[in-house]
Symmetry: C2
Subunit: 399 residues, 2 copies
């Protein structure tokens, strides 16, 4: 397999690509992934620099290393410091109606980046990809794209700086020309090496990587960046998308384009434990933004894998194993108060706090987030979706 | 190779696909090609039926078996007889500025079909294909597409029934959705079998077959055929394009679409002899529509392969070998008068007519055709190109 990360003599193997995240070790070794993919660790110096340049405290996902790796973020910040702006590009494959918390992570973080750097953002909804991979009809993929757009808009993006598009609506013109330019530079053997396609895969799959590549180039959006071909692009995404952008960065110089920079996150673990991404096919593996407070409480109590000990006595004696404890990990993503999180780490790790108490706190935190999201989403009208998706210039996008 | 036609024990082999026409035998065996491709011979009964249905004498390219094979032409005529119309689809890969006579053949024939059946026509200019295969820039491919459109328009198409489009301009929307639907139905192994791609081919090539497939489906042109998904399509083309449409016909029923019908031509031979198609890289292998009368005379006298004997004595004794004689073959394509052609066949074949006389007659015929084409092309303005290529309804296309 393409993005497989093999250990020399050992049996341990990791597979991380846009369609599969798996490890024979149970959990992903992100240090090895950085080495094998050839990206860089996002260290404290860089986070401090983001804080200094934006005049804002770094997002909790930066402080807690949810976004932990990058490519060329330094260059983006160098240019920004000299007054050169950039644009953000992220996306979603609309394969399901309801999003779970893991799906929200890149959008919550992208919203922070947009606000902090005051830059434009393009969001690609790959309805063509999902139509091909999940065998959905064109119409169903497009419906899901619009439904997902509502959840994305509910994250609070600034309409004066944000263009959301679906591939089925937008592919054509300058975008299609860039697709052809990219496709010319990538052999079949190359995509087999990157993505692990086989001869039995349909040619729609083989045709798709350029579609996800070209939003990295400003010339794909002539209504946004006319004549501004040197504008840099920064892509916030989960690290399973890295193969697309390795390919894109490889091709860019041959087209006279800038390589996109990346800022990449770990995977949000399933309730049952940290073995990769959550599964859309198992509704009990994740908290959905459509879950009620009661659903959230039940799922956490029933399914969230605990690192606590099997008896109160042992728990008091040995403390919780925070390395595998899902309630504590989830709090690491979503509990904003650093002091409280450190307190829980100490008390729960020492066995003075019980799993039930941690689960209760997590239920409160997630219920609040989901409740706020639900209200924001309910306020998103079809007209707002049309407005975000309108092909239009954004005259104030750099202000 | 994909479309290779192999003889069991023998060494003889034919390769016929959109990029290569070759035979170890020297000339293509069209009977074998029909068998191997699985299309049908266009026989006298069918030609008579076309004459009866259209109330016109059949085109010289039909009478002389230039268009010699078909798929489902019977069905198209059955439906037409009951009052059901169809539409025509043909195209050109704009790889060179000047067209030669071989390039004009499908357009001359398509113009006859449009006039005879009074049906709409879509003409695809595959500038994306040529950008990928010939390594042209996007801009150069688009320029060539417009230049070639002028030659095509000069063939006399009815603007009220004709939509010409370039892929770089038109791909998107319903057309792109159909591309995705087709791509989902075709595996990489399948296109390797049909087109002979290898792992070192770039993915642009592998992505292209759906682009040429989807103009076969009326839903790719919502401005022309809104809601008219059952309209049949008839494709006049050279038989080297058959692989694209075998694939298309294979996929169509799975999408709930009608299979396109085809009417297919032999290749127009090079001046040097009948070993396949003419070569754009050798200007002396073909008569171009930009050639002067003097050029035409020189090329015919100097390069046209003669089946005449090596001395006048032998010629008078044995006669010309019409099987290999290029001047006579060219007259078979372009001399409209059946009686005169038969007369030349008899006299030249018996050695009473000399090669010089036949070449002189061919020079007159081709000079006339090229001169008429040049005048017609000079009258084609940029505004006319824009008008033919405008995305617009054609309210009188079936009248």
């Amino acid at each position: 397999m393409a993005a497989a990360v093999k250990d020399g003599g050992e049996e341990a193997e990791q597979i991380v690509n846009p369609w599969e995240v798996a490890s024979t070790q149970g959990k992903i070794d992100y240090d090895k992934l950085i080495d094998k993919f050839g990206c860089q660790r996002l260290d404290k110096t860089l986070i401090d620099r983001v804080e200094r340049l934006t005049g804002r405290p770094p997002h909790v996902f930066l402080r807690r290393s949810v976004f932990f790796a990058h490519r060329d973020l330094n260059d983006i910040l160098d240019a920004y410091e000299k007054g050169d702006k950039f644009y953000l590009y992220t996306g979603r494959g609309p394969s399901s109606e309801a999003l779970h918390l893991g799906h929200l992570i890149p959008f919550m973080f992208t919203k922070y980046l947009q606000d902090a750097f005051k830059v434009p953002l393009v969001i690609q909804l790959t309805d063509d990809e999902k139509c091909m991979w999940k065998n959905l009809t064109v119409e169903e993929s497009q419906r899901l794209a619009r439904e997902n757009a509502k959840d994305i808009i509910a994250c609070g993006f600034d309409i004066s700086k944000t263009f959301i598009f679906s591939d089925f609506d937008y592919v054509g013109g300058a975008f299609y020309k860039n697709m052809v330019k990219v496709a010319k530079c990538v052999t079949y053997n190359k995509v087999v090496g990157i993505f692990g396609f086989t001869g039995e895969d349909h040619i729609g799959k083989i045709s798709f990587p350029p579609v996800q590549a070209v939003p990295s180039f400003p010339s794909s959006f002539p209504h946004l960046f006319p004549g501004n071909d040197s504008l840099r692009c920064l892509i916030p995404c989960a690290i399973d998308q890295d193969p697309y952008f390795r390919m894109t960065r490889d091709v860019a110089p041959r087209l006279g384009y800038q390589k996109p920079a990346l800022i990449e996150s770990t995977f949000f673990p399933a309730l049952q434990g940290e073995t990769g991404k959550m599964s859309a096919s198992d509704p009990n593996s994740a908290i959905y933004v459509t879950d009620s407070g009661k659903d959230i409480k039940n799922k956490i109590n029933k399914y969230a894998f605990s690192g606590g000990q099997d008896s109160i006595e042992n728990h008091r004696k040995y403390g919780a194993n925070l390395e595998v404890d899902i309630p504590f990990k989830y709090l690491g993503f979503f509990l904003e108060d650093d002091d409280e999180l450190e307190d829980i780490r100490t008390e729960y790790g020492a066995g003075r706090m019980l799993t039930g108490e941690v689960k209760k706190r997590l239920t409160e935190v997630l219920t609040g987030i989901v409740e706020r999201h639900r209200k924001a989403r309910a306020a998103v009208t079809d007209e707002m979706v049309d407005a975000f998706m309108a092909v239009r210039p954004l005259p104030n996008m750099f202000n």
